[in-house]
Amino acid sequence: MTDSSTAKTDDAVISIRGVSMSYGGRRVLDQVDLDVCRGEILVLLGGSGSGKTTLLKHVLGLAEPEAGSITITGVDITSCSQSELGAVRRRIGVAFQAGALFNSMSVEDNVALPLRELTRLADSTIKLMVWMNLVAVGLSHAGSLYPPELSGGMRKRAAVARAMALGPEILILDEPSAGLDPIVSAGLDELILFLKRSFGVTILVVTHELESAFHIADRVAMLYQGRLIAVDRKEQFAGNAHPRIRQFLDRQHDAMPRVAAEDFIASYLGVPT
């Protein structure tokens, strides 16, 4: 980690310290330390099985770590009460990978849900706020549609609109560009930058899409086998010499394991040769 990544930790809105987790004896997260600072876009990179999703679940309070602490806006969510956790969650907006929109509700009702449930606003005010959120994500024409009628990109935009409904301080996006074509993906990147510029929201993006990551990020972090191997400003990160980061950035595949013919036959027949 360089100075540029640690200099701003006083201003951290999410502070992860020494978080570890194992499943069935396998270490999934190993002593992860990470800060997300106010107003920045931090992109968390990592291959499949690197522990990104597990770390995200811990940050959202959906799983409890074996060791370590996660402090969000000054509250340690690993040791706080359910009501404190609820209060913290209201300051976070989350857009899940597949959108997690409620299929039985229209897009408008999906965006209105947190406003109806968690505020005492009048219906007319909620309607106006929903419309403003849909305009912000470019979906003002699709409010009456149902999630199964939306394209992949529209679904992700609708999920972002719902995540922004309560005006959160922190926006967490899980794989926003996964499964989208380059044009739609670029549009979503612009939306993320627009939200940061317009609302000053702190954004944590979990992805493995390199192009998108380097376009939107202020800082980039990388997980490998449950360990955080680098956190840096994107310019420095691009020049990082760590072999796994180079392999990831240069899109090099792992070496295929080679098996000798006689070993293969022996394992197939179950007898040593």
Partner: protein, 269 residues
Amino acid sequence: MTLLEQVGRAAIVQVEDVGALTMQFWSVLRKLPRVLPVVGARRRWRSAVVQMFAIGASALPMSGAMSLCTGFILALQSASELRKFGALELVVSLVAVGFTRELGPLITALSVSGRSASAISAEIGTMVVTEEIDALRVMGLDPVEITLAPKYLAALITVPCLTILSTLCGIFAGYLFLAFSMGMSLGVYCHAVAEAISLRDVGFMVVKSLVFATVIVHVGCLEGLRVRGGPEAVGHFTTSAVVKSTFLIILTDLGATAIFYLMGWSAAG
């Protein structure tokens, strides 16, 4: 792993299951008032109404037809024996008492179990797979209150209503048989039915149907919440929900009937 360890682990899993069932039941009971109109959260009762149509109204033709057929079968079978003693009129009390105490609640519960336990677990299981349940949690909303409680309320209201209607269908089948076979009039039949069943029988019917409703919706919800992995897991847990709820309905029916019998409540009058 030794045999003792295997037995121990299996026992722990079973105890955990019972614990999960109890915990879920308790948390839903606490949230049930939130679904009621006026005193509950705004608009929540509307989702309970939607569930009432799904669980109750659409199951009516099925359970009604099943009861009508079973009532006719019961009348036919008993008539062939009772005719030997010249006591064909006893078919009335057999059908009336049999349906009120036993067959009405049971047939309704089995038909609702086949339709709704699977539908509930599939719906909730899909919500787990598509991260909708997680989405509710991270929004600071309680999935128990929003998705489970309306289903419980809907089942507790509609299953007893369905039971009453399908019991009436079963008893009506008895009338059809007697009208054709010995030309009994509807007035005489209704009078004989009123003589045969007591208010206590009707009370048992309602209590049983409430218990069955709880079993169906409870097992459906719990199996749905246990879905892990991809969409194929939804199918597995849906099947499991129907099998478990059907078995538990028979088991609780046996338990309830045994308690009524042992307490001497089954005696007429």
